[in-house]
């Protein structure tokens, strides 16, 4: 057991931190959000240059073979700076699904394009009725010779509006909530029958409603077993949750820092408000929540690679519970201790609060994962 970064990991961290410090101040971030796609193409190129877009992929596919610790390092920095680019959608989700589920040919075709920054992906999975249950898929995929015809609607497709291709789950067999019978399809975003409506999300990012009307997907764009994609979807979702946990930690860490700075400088009643013991203790409680969350983000990174899917899922659920609860507490208190300015769009802390709030609603909130964990027998069952 070793909690130190390796030399290479430290270099990665330093370069990402430097990029963020140089180019991702809060004012810049707000400017990037106003660009046509809601994020910065320039930064996307910078990520490609730094190798961030190639990080998790094998060297054979133009990648660097990075693992969850590397991803954690990047995501924490992204969380601190509230980055807007479709890293999660393209690299973690889209790239992850291809890497974990794709054929050698598919990987060889697409992963280098991701790494170079030329291909942006999205993951179309959530449906109106699915809530957080990954196995709930109503979108249909009908076999038509070697092809499939997709019909259905996918909601809250993260960065679905600027994606070149969308990985879509659809049901080849079985009924709405069966674990078997789910396929994963790579759909060109401009293919006939695909319509998208992009919109801003509460946290200043982008998502889309994607409608599929008789969309034809040929056999080369079926990812893995067309009736057995769920395990891959679950695995990649777990990896994404681990990444989001790290992002949330970055955001919480930044909120605590901003809050402590504010308390030390803001004066009221002829003293800095940081001299009030109640506000000091509240800050200590934020610190505890942050560090407990950080511990679980590390646990998630470790367990995202666990071979036994049941153990992996329980561990990831546990981490999501902790991240959700820590994030809520740290976020609410950061706003509370800032008073009015914490409520304004002009100040960073409110945006961080919104981001951690939305991270809780991604891939299942704390209560959902607590239920799942409890139903699976808890963390300590033998």
């Amino acid at each position: 057991m070793d909690f130190d970064l390796s030399e290479e990991q430290r270099l990665l961290k330093d370069s990402v931190d430097r990029l963020m410090a140089d180019r991702y101040g809060f004012e810049n971030r707000q400017r990037y959000a106003k660009e046509p796609e809601g994020w910065s193409r320039d930064l996307w190129s910078a990520y490609a240059e730094l190798g961030l877009l190639a990080l998790p992929f094998d060297e054979a596919h133009g990648g660097f073979g990075g693992g969850p610790v590397e991803t954690m390092t990047i995501m924490e920095a992204f969380g601190r700076s509230l980055t807007l680019e479709p890293y999660l959608a393209t690299v973690i989700l889209g790239g992850g699904l291809l890497k974990q589920g794709g054929s050698e040919e598919q990987k060889a075709t697409y992963l280098p394009q991701i790494a170079s920054g030329d291909l942006r992906l999205a993951f179309g999975h959530t449906e109106r009725q699915s809530r957080y249950d990954l196995f709930h898929v109503g979108t249909s995929a009908q076999r038509d010779g070697g092809s499939f015809i997709l019909n259905g609607q996918k909601s809250v497709v993260l960065h679905g509006d600027s994606a070149d291709k969308i990985l879509v789950t659809a049901r080849v067999a079985g009924s709405r909530r069966d674990r078997d019978g789910i396929g994963l399809f790579l759909v060109d975003a401009n293919a006939p029958g695909v319509s998208r409506r992009g919109y801003p999300t509460q946290d200043g990012q982008r998502a889309a409603e994607v409608t599929l009307e008789s969309v034809r997907v040929d056999s080369g764009n079926v990812i893995g077993n067309p009736e057995g994609a769920l395990p891959v979807v679950e695995k990649v979702t777990d990896i994404a949750i681990a990444a989001l946990a790290a992002e949330a930690i970055g955001a919480m860490d930044e909120m605590l820092k901003l809050t402590v700075d504010y308390l030390k400088t803001r004066k009221q009643f002829n003293t800095t408000i940081g001299s009030f013991q109640v506000l000091q203790h509240r800050s200590s409680e934020m610190f505890i929540a942050l560090e407990q969350g950080r511990s679980m983000a590390m646990f998630a990174a470790m367990m995202a690679q666990e071979q036994n899917p049941e153990e992996r899922r329980k561990a990831i659920s546990a981490a999501k519970v902790q991240i959700g609860r820590s994030g809520r507490f740290v976020g609410q208190q950061a706003v509370q201790l800032h008073g009015g300015v914490g409520m304004t769009m002009e100040y960073k802390v409110g945006h961080l609060f919104k981001r951690v709030t939305m991270i809780d609603t991604l891939f299942g909130d704390a209560d959902h994962h607590l239920s799942n964990l409890a139903e699976a027998g808890g963390l300590m069952a033998a």
Binding site: T126, Q202, Q268, G340, T357, L362
Partner: protein, 398 residues
């Protein structure tokens, strides 16, 4: 001791409930249920319906339009109004400056302002908070210098709610800076159309525009707009803030919100099971209902004791109403977030209206903005931390 409503009180409740059921325009009711902000027009329309009925300012003296209702009836009226759910009459007029004017103002001021407040002919806003002051309200810096028959006002107010619609602003201004900070403050009424006033919007994290900064640059205010005595403004402000705390529990609003949560959680399903039938969720909801019922009883205890209390001296126990009231209101927004689930994510700016197709269920779009916006409730009106100081000092004697 008899903790039940009397038959007369029950009859009164039925009467106001029926009135709200029939008199409140449906379009306004829909907005309220769905968590949208009523527009200025909505509020004017509704206030005039109430005023026509004689119920716009029930707590005022009868000669100025009040109803003479007992504190319990006042409570019932407000509770039913919130549960309707109907917009509350603009507090800055009817609950804040109105009572200050009829208590401390002169006859001219009463005649000039009170009827227009009751009918929402004048939209009022509140000029108390300043950028540097926060919870230390009395440290305000906006000055008013006497110049013949005018005060010349310079300075800045902030967190001025709905100032963008306002005809008038009531301000605390410093008229003497040589004395203790509380002793040099005056209470001025200022016409928003006076030259030298600039309103700058503040966008809040929910994306809305409720609050503003208001700048005063050599603004000339006739001395006749001074309320009461010069340099006594702090007393009037304390009186005003005491009144503010009474309604702050907003129990009817939480009741309406919990009813909404229960309805939506019956529609929303996890597989085939309505969310409301998931034990975890329904117990969480019930736990908030218990807290709310306790708070309602606490509120009624405060109301019942009101007649025995010195006028204008707020019951320090009303700090409980602020603390628990805000905690419960915030808890209801968290429940709604849970109901909405993944569909909390899409953001629809309120201004754009509801013309475009919705992303997710059409009731989902206000969940997150309401959750974000309602974080303010534990901050404004004396933060919950300040309220705990008040309990510690005024009740527990620390």
């Amino acid at each position: 001791m008899d903790l039940r409503f009397t038959d007369e009180e029950l009859a009164f409740r039925d009467e106001v409930r029926e009135f709200f059921r029939t008199a409140l325009p449906d379009s306004i009711r829909r907005k309220m249920i769905e968590g949208h902000h009523p527009s200025k027009d909505d509020l004017v329309t509704w206030s005039r319906i109430l005023n026509t009925k004689g119920w716009a300012v029930p707590h005022w003296p009868v000669e100025w339009g009040g109803t003479g209702w007992s504190p319990v009836k006042q409570y019932i009226f407000r509770d039913e109004l919130q549960q309707a759910p109907a917009p509350e009459p603009l507090a800055f007029g009817v609950s804040m400056v109105g009572p200050v004017i009829y208590t401390f103002g002169n006859e001219d001021q009463k005649r000039r302002f009170l009827p227009r407040i009751a009918n929402l002919d004048d939209w009022w806003c509140q000029g108390f908070s300043e950028p540097g002051a926060g919870s230390d309200l009395a440290s305000l810096k906006t000055t008013a210098k006497r110049d013949g028959e005018y005060y010349i006002v310079n300075g800045q107010k902030t967190w001025t709610t709905l100032a963008q619609h306002a005809d008038w602003i009531f301000c605390l201004v410093r008229t003497d800076s040589t004395v203790k900070k509380q002793e040099g403050i005056s209470f001025l009424l200022i016409d928003m159309k006076t030259s030298g006033i600039t309103v700058r919007p503040i966008q809040t994290i929910d994306g809305g525009h409720e609050v503003n900064e208001v700048f005063f640059d050599d603004v000339r205010v006739p001395v006749e707009n001074l309320v009461g005595q010069e340099n006594k403004g702090w007393d009037y402000a304390k009186f005003l803030l005491g009144n503010e705390r009474v309604g702050i529990a907003r129990i009817g609003i939480s009741k309406a919100r919990l009813k909404r949560v229960r309805e939506l959680a019956s529609l929303e399903r996890i597989g085939d099971v309505p969310l409301i039938d998931i034990p975890r969720f329904r117990e969480k909801l019930a736990a908030v209902e218990v807290e709310l019922k306790a708070l309602e009883m606490t509120q009624l205890r405060v109301v019942a004791a009101e007649s025995r209390r010195e006028k204008g001296k707020p019951d320090p126990a009303s700090s409980i109403l602020k603390i628990k009231g805000s905690e419960i209101q915030q808890a209801t927004t968290e429940l709604l977030m849970e109901v909405v689930g993944p569909f909390a994510m899409p953001y629809h700016p309120e201004e754009e209206g509801r013309n475009e197709p919705t992303d997710g269920p059409d009731w989902a779009s206000t969940a997150a903005p309401t959750y974000f916006n309602w974080r303010k409730i534990s901050i404004y009106g004396g933060s919950n931390e300040i309220q705990k100081n008040i309990i510690a000092k005024a009740i527990l004697g620390f």
